[in-house]
Structures are given as C-alpha cells and as structure tokens.
C-alpha cells in the first residue's frame, strides 16, 4: 500500500513538467524579443532549460521509482552500504563539467550587454537619451532635432549630452522613443544615460530582455538596439501611435506594445511606474516625431525645469 505514495510524487512532477509544455501555447511564456542581444539571452535560457530539464526529470524519476520499488517489505532487508567511491567521483565530475561549460558560454553575452567597453560612443550615429527615474515616473530627455543635426556635422558635440542638460532639450515623460536598426545596415545603437532623482528604480524592458537598476548618485550607461518597429503615424489622429504591426498595417496589436516597467521596489506607486517603448521605422520618422514632441513640450512647459539630479 505504502508504495502508492510514489504516485503522488509522480503526479506532482508530471504536472510540473506539463505546465512548462502547455505554457507557451497559452501565451504564458517569454514575450516577443526585438533586441539585437535578446536572441542570445533566449538561447542561453533554452540551453539551461534543456540541461536542467533533463536532470530534473532524471532525478525525480529515480526518486519516484525508488519510492515505488523500495517501499517497506518485511521480508526484505535493506542493502548495507556506506557509499560508492566511483559513483561519488562520477556525479561530482559530470555536473562540474556541465556547470563550468554553462559558466563559460555565457560570458560573451554578458560582456556584450553590460560591459562599459561595449557601450556605443556618443557620436553622430548613436542615439542618446537620458532616462531619469523618480517616484513614480520616467522623465526622458532627448536632444533637440537641431542638436542632433549638429552632431552630424561635428561628432564631438555629442559628448556632453549625458552630463549636461541643455536649454533646447526635449522632455517627454514615460515615453521612450528610438528608431529601428535594420539588419545588415549600419548599426543604429541607443545609449541611455540612466539616473534617478530619489530612490532605486530599475528600467525593465521585457521585449528587449534588458534590465538595469538606476542608482542614486550614479549615471549608468545602458545600450540596446531594436530590430523591429512598432510605431507609425496614425492617419486619423495625426499622432505617432505604437502597437503597430508593420506586416499587417494594423494598430492595437498586443505583440507590438512594448512596455517599460520599474522592476526595483521604489515605494507606494511602484506598481504604476510604467512607460512605453516606441520604435520608429527610421531616423526620419523619429525626427518627425521629435519635432512634434518639441512643439508639444514648449507648449506645455515653456520653462523646462532642470532634470539634473
């Protein structure tokens, strides 16, 4: 009778595996990736999922079978053994090898996402944005269209954007606008200068597989490059609207709404500290939006308060 307890263990484990099998079909899975490095992150995720999944099923199967097979029997005596040296060596070396392998293969991706040396340099071709987190919103500062043009003629002028706010900067709360990188063409990287005015926050963009804490007193560089776009000029409203699926030409497409979340607890309205990522088709579209945003900004707040913390 006792052996039937193994069924309980087996059922729970089976359900656990089952959930991972059905979840992707239910839409409960990794959101669409649209960043250049997100594919590497996902690959590593699936690699680890494969390896851990294998050892999960293996160990649990041994356990469940063991409970079934070796449950109490008064006619039998347990085997008297204190261990097995060969086995110990085997099950130390094999996992050690696998773990070292997992350790090594990921270093490149991590370097690529986070190392200072991989950050795009301010210059003519780098999109620069300052994101200042505060309780409980994202204040985003863009260079004005004029300033961006000046970077083209003299890249050195792009150096000070992250450090010094300028009179002509464009401020847009909670909307992160960039333009797309087209595969095979010159990289269109985004360099974010991430700051906070008050407490810790964290910029999390699930569709980019990207997260970085904002730390009081520090400016942290963050980079990404987006390979798809989700924003187009809506003919009816005359606004640039996201949720746009370029393939079908429809708006309000769930897969094309890319939210920006705060992932580090920051107080009362942490849960509501959200923004959105707008990716324009190209630089020209972006500039067109930026001009519109500049006008809006001037209309709303003629004298812009400094966002410098």
């Amino acid at each position: 009778m006792q052996k039937y307890w193994s069924v309980l263990f087996g059922a729970v484990i089976t359900a656990a595996v089952g959930l991972f099998v059905v979840a992707p079909f239910m839409g409960w899975w990794l959101p669409r990736n649209v960043s250049s490095f997100g594919g590497d992150v996902d690959l590593l995720f699936y690699l680890i999922l494969g390896i851990t999944g294998f050892f999960f099923v293996l160990t649990e199967a041994i356990l469940v079978y063991g409970i079934w097979k070796f449950s109490s029997d008064p006619t039998r005596k347990a085997t008297y053994t204190h261990g097995n040296h060969k086995l110990e060596v085997l099950w130390t070396i094999v996992p050690a090898g696998i773990l070292v392998m997992i350790g090594i293969v990921q270093v490149r991706t991590w370097e690529n996402i986070k190392y200072q040396s991989r950050m795009p340099r301010p210059g003519a071709n780098t999109q620069q944005i300052e994101v200042v987190a505060r309780q409980w919103e994202w204040r985003i500062r863009y260079p004005s269209p004029k300033r961006m043009a000046s970077w083209r003629s003299d890249p050195r002028l792009a150096q000070d954007f992250g450090a010094v706010p300028h009179q002509d900067d464009v401020h847009v709360p909670n909307e992160l606008h960039v333009w797309r990188h087209q595969k095979g063409e010159e990289p269109q990287k985004v360099l974010v200068h991430l700051k906070t005015r008050d407490v810790l926050h964290s910029m999390k963009l699930v569709n980019l597989r990207l997260m970085q804490d904002a730390v009081p007193g520090k400016t942290i560089p963050v980079w990404f490059m987006v390979e798809e776009y989700n924003t187009s000029l809506h003919p009816e409203t005359g606004r640039w609207v996201d949720g746009f699926d370029p393939k079908t030409g429809h708006w309000n497409q769930k897969d094309y709404v890319w939210e920006l979340a705060c992932a580090e607890f920051c107080g009362t309205r942490h849960t509501a500290m959200k923004g959105k990522l707008f990716v324009h088709k190209n630089r020209d579209d972006f500039l067109e939006w930026l001009k519109w945003a500049e006008a809006e900004d001037h209309r709303r707040t003629p004298a812009v308060p400094s966002t410098e913390p």
Binding site: A16, D73, P95, D198, L200, P216
Partner: protein, 609 residues
C-alpha cells in the same frame, strides 16, 4: 578528540525547580528549544496570514473585500487594498518568515534540542547564555509586533530594505517620518531595532553551539561519528558567527542614517523628494547591498543546511540503510559554506555594480550548485535498495529532496548573468526562493517536528492526520509556487501590487488567481498540523525511548529526557547510520552498542508506521 565533561549528569541530581525556572526561565537546552519551537510556530501563523493577504491582492487586485478596511484602516478605504498596505504586507511577510520563523526554528529550536542530545552531552556549554539567547528574542518579538501599529505602518521596503527608499530620513528635528513613503518612517526604525535583537540572540546561540560541539562530545563521539544534523548545525553556527556581525553593522548604520541624520547610504549630490532636497551625503547607496548580501547569502544557507542535516537523518532511519556517502555529504556542506561567502554579488548583477565583478560572482555561483547536486545524488543513493517506511516524517523528508531539486536547478538560471538580466526581480526569483525556503526548508522542519516530537514530549503525533496534512501541503504548495516560474518567464515583476497595470501581464491573471486559491487551501491545511501538534502534546500515545528504531544517541535517553539528558554518560562505539548491518540481528545498531554485540540495548517498542 572529544573531551567528556566530568559531570555526573543525572536527573536525580538536579534539585526540584520552581515552575518558573523549569518552564519559563529555563536553562535546559530542551526547554529552550521547545520555547523557540512554539514561538516559531506562532510567528508562522502570523507570517502565513500576511502571505494570504498578499495573495488576496494579487489574485483579485481590484476586488472589494468588505472586512479589509476594518483590519487595515484608512489605507484600504472601501475594502480595496491600498498600495502602501500591500507593500507593508509583502515586506513583513518575508521579514517575519525569515527572521522570526525559519532561523529561530532551525537553529533555535532544533539546534538547541538536538545538539547536546545527539553528541551525548548533558546540556549546552553555556546554559545561561542559552537562556539569554531565547529571551533576547522577546524584545525583537515585541518591537516587531508594535511596529504594525506605528505611525505610517510597519516597514514597507522589502525584507532587503534597500536604501535609499528605506534609509532616507527627514532633516534633523523634523521627526522620524520618511519623505520616501509612509512605511519607511517609524516602521523601518522599529524593523531595524528588532532585527538587531534577533542578531544578538542568534550570535549567542551560535557561540554556544560551536563551543558545545567542539568541547562536549561524549566519549567515543568523534567528529565523523556525529549525525548529519549536528554537522549541519555546526557549520551553520560557524556561518552565522562570521556573517552576522556584518549584518549587525549594516543595521546600525542604517539606524543611524534614520535617526541621527548620518549619510552612510546617501550619495554625494542631492536627492529630490517632493518639494525638498536632501543635503549632499558622503556615502554609497550600493554599500548597503554589499553588506546586506554578505550576510544574507550565507544566511540563505543558514536557512537550509540544518534542514538538510535533519532530512539526512530521517531518510537514513526510514530507509533502514546507512547514509550514502557520509563524508562527501560532510564535505559538501563545508563546501557550500565556504563558497557561500564569495557569491553574495549574484544578488547584485543588475544593481549597477561593475559588470566585470558580476562575471566573477557568476562563476563562483555556478559552482555552488555542485555540492547541492552531490547531496541530492547521495540522498537518492540512500533510498536506493533501502526498505522504506513511508510515514509522515519520511514523506516530508522525501518532499524536501524532490523539491530541493527544483530550487537548486532554478538557481542555475539566475546564476547565468545574461538570463538574470531578464529574470532578476521577477517572479522567477520568488519561485526559486520559495522552492528552497518553503518547499525545502519548511518540509524539512515538518519532517523534523514529526520525527523528534516523541523525544520532545514522550508522545506520538497522529500518523493518519500527519499524512493528510502532508498530502494537502505537498499538492497545494506546488500549486502556489510552481506557476511562479511561468510568471517570471513571462516577465512578471515581483513586489507589484497590481499586475493589471501592465498589458503584458493581463493574460497571466488566471495563473495568479489559481495560485491564490491554492494558497488559501495551503494556509487552512496547516490547521490540521496545529491541531495534531497541540492534541498530541497532551493526549498522543506514549512513545517510549526509541519508537523509530533509530541509532543516534538521543534515542537512548528517556522520552522526554530529564534535565541532564542521560541516566549515565553515554559511550559511543560506532557511526550513527548502522542500519541493516549484517553484524546485527535487528536492522539497527545504536551508536552505544559495543563491538561484538548484535542486539540493540533498551526497551523494544513496536515501530509505528
């Protein structure tokens, strides 16, 4: 070498103590252990209630629950839980569970109860210090309970209490409210004070455990004849002794930031809160995270190693088979402890710490999965070709093994820095920590309570209800925690009061609801355990000395053992896991069985299955 204390330990030699000295201000390690146990169980109920309120909000974020405004006051007007209330709930849930339930239960209750009994000592090396270690918990209990009624509510910045949300204070002379949020004022100050007392208590405990294990082992009890419970408690005590001072320092620094307007965690430059600015500080926000995790990573092992030890004892006993790979098991926990001190940075991969440092911490972290794997394989090796008695303690111990596998494997995802870029601070982390802390440690604690209850009280717990409790707990807890992995993979942030704020989280709400329902089943299932526990203390059937036919020393003492534990100082001749030895006639040979003898001494009591 063990040193036996020339102390004629016998119950008859202790003078009759007054009720107060015997049960309240007791110096007897067993009474102190049981005191820790009941305090822990009471706080477990509080922590559980807080968790259910958290789940209530997450399952139905926009529901109006009529009684909520009565319990929570203004913050939840109209019965809809306010954000501040929610933030307080998840903070206090974790704080209570970690500092008032798991650590006191493992080291306080089992550490105290088991160490002297399993090494054949009459008591701890410093009985008065031991008593103080329990009574220093009471200021902590009192302060943390008072904090719920503090102005602004109890602490609300997470159990990690990161600055500057936690540490910021008003300028001198303007009171102790916080400009950052309601719960970071008085609530946070009381939280810090309370934890300082917990720390002092644990420190006294660990000094005592280390000394006792080194000096008071009975004759013949060499280090490698100690049961795994003692080994793991020994290593845990060492971890605690080295890591706790760092936490204590950090707590004091933050307390000074909050009350004396120091700026240990305030950066140079000003911070803006509403319409006023902090003065320029001279500190570092990230300093707290380093100090906190330098303690708290070793602490997560403090929160599981004793359970691993107890589970090893239980599994060997009920497999009727020696523990497979005793020495590798010992080396594994030592390895975990050593590596445990150099991996704290894995909590800070995305914190703004230099990413090159992250690479180093990643490599160390990945390797810490190895000793965990070795332990798992050895438990499986112990079961293999055993003769398993699947009673309540054993089932809980097996649940520990099967669930620890999940928690250990999920650790590898997070140790992988690029994957952590995506899953950090998501529900994947919440899943991981509950698989190691709830699904492993709490099942280990249940196993320990069901297993040693007869020794504690001389009575048996009810087996049938124990199994019912186990089945409900096992199924329901997986229902609560397993889907958290999926939420994390889908990007669900932790510590958010209202997932419906985000479009990409809306499709996940059915999962949240399912988890909440499971949580209520789980929570109410625990009343079975409580009833069983309290009923059995008074009315359970008498157990005799050795109801499980187990080998370690505590089972040779009377149940419950008198003050002084053993009738005569025990002498040990063999290891603790001699089950089914061909040498013996029965399937067990207690550690006190001299060489050449084949029958366990002592009364023969039918085994309860």
């Amino acid at each position: 070498m063990s040193v036996s204390i020339p102390h004629e330990a016998g119950a008859h030699q202790h003078p009759q103590l007054s009720f107060l000295r015997k049960y309240i201000f007791s110096e007897d390690h067993k009474v102190i252990g049981i005191q820790f146990m009941f305090s822990g169980v009471i706080f477990l109920m509080l922590g559980g209630a807080l968790a259910l309120l958290v789940r209530l909000q997450l399952g139905w974020p926009h529901a109006q629950v009529p009684i909520l405004d009565k319990i929570m006051g203004d913050g939840s007007a109209g019965g809809r839980m306010g954000y501040d209330t929610y933030n307080m709930l998840f903070t206090m849930h974790a704080s209570v569970m970690i500092f008032f339930v798991i650590i006191p239960l493992l080291t306080g209750a089992f550490g105290n109860f088991l160490i002297p009994l399993q090494i054949g000592a009459p008591d701890m090396a410093f009985p008065k210090l031991n008593m103080m270690s329990y009574w220093f918990m009471w200021p902590a209990f009192t302060i943390i309970l008072i904090s719920f009624f503090a102005h602004g509510g109890a602490a609300s910045s997470g159990w990690t209490s990161y600055p500057t949300i936690a540490s910021i204070s008003m300028p001198a002379g303007q009171g102790f409210e916080s400009p950052a949020q309601a719960g970071s004022g008085w609530g946070q100050i009381l939280w810090l004070m309370s934890l300082i007392f917990v720390g002092i208590s644990s420190m006294m405990g660990s000094v005592n455990y280390i000394t006792t294990i080194i000096n008071m082992r009975c004759s013949g009890m060499t280090l490698f004849r100690m049961p795994m419970s003692v080994w793991s408690l020994f290593i845990t005590a060492i971890l605690q002794a080295f890591a706790l001072p760092v936490l204590t320092v950090a707590l004091f620094l933050q307390l000074m930031d909050k009350t004396l307007n120091t700026s240990f965690f305030l950066p140079p430059g000003t911070l803006n809160f509403g319409n006023w600015q902090t003065g320029p500080g001279g500190g570092q926000t990230l300093l707290w995270q380093h100090l906190f995790w330098f303690y708290s990573h070793p602490a997560v092992y403090i929160m599981i190693l004793p359970a691993m030890g107890m589970v090893s004892d239980v599994i060997s006993t009920f497999s009727r088979k020696p523990l497979f790979g005793y020495k590798p098991m010992v080396y594994s926990i030592t390895g975990i402890a050593g590596l445990g001190f150099i991996v704290w940075g894995h909590h800070m991969f995305q914190s703004g710490m230099d990413p090159r440092l992250g690479t180093g911490f990643m490599l160390a972290t990945i390797m810490i999965a190895l000793p965990s794997a070795v332990k798992t394989f050895n438990w499986l090796g112990t079961i293999w070709q055993g003769n398993l008695t699947l009673n309540t303690p054993m089932l809980n111990a097996l649940a520990f093994v099967s669930m620890f596998v999940i928690g250990g494997l999920s650790g590898i995802f997070m140790a992988a820095t690029p994957v952590d870029v995506y899953i950090h601070d998501s529900y994947f982390i919440v899943a991981h920590l509950h698989y190691v802390l709830f699904m492993s440690t709490v099942f280990g604690i249940f196993a320990g309570i069901y297993f040693w209850f007869p020794k504690m009280f001389g009575r048996m717990m009810n087996e049938r209800w124990g199994k019912v409790h186990f089945a409900i707990t096992f199924i329901a807890s997986n229902g609560v925690f397993y889907p958290m992995h999926i939420l994390g993979i889908a990007g669900h942030m932790r510590r958010i009061a209202d997932p419906e704020q985000y479009q990409f989280l809306k499709p996940l709400m059915p999962i949240n609801e399912f988890m909440s329902i499971s949580a209520f089943v789980l929570g109410f299932g625990q009343f079975i355990f409580l009833a069983n526990l309290f009923y059995s203390v008074f009315w359970g059937p008498k157990s005799g000395r050795n109801p499980w036919h187990s080998n370690s020393l505590e089972w040779t003492a009377p149940s419950p053992p008198p003050h002084g534990n053993f009738e005569s100082p025990p002498v040990v001749y063999r290891g603790p896991y001699e089950y089914s030895s061909p040498e013996g006639e029965e399937d067990y040979l207690p550690q006190t069985t001299p060489p050449g003898e084949t029958k366990p001494a002592g009364e023969a009591v039918p085994q309860h299955a």
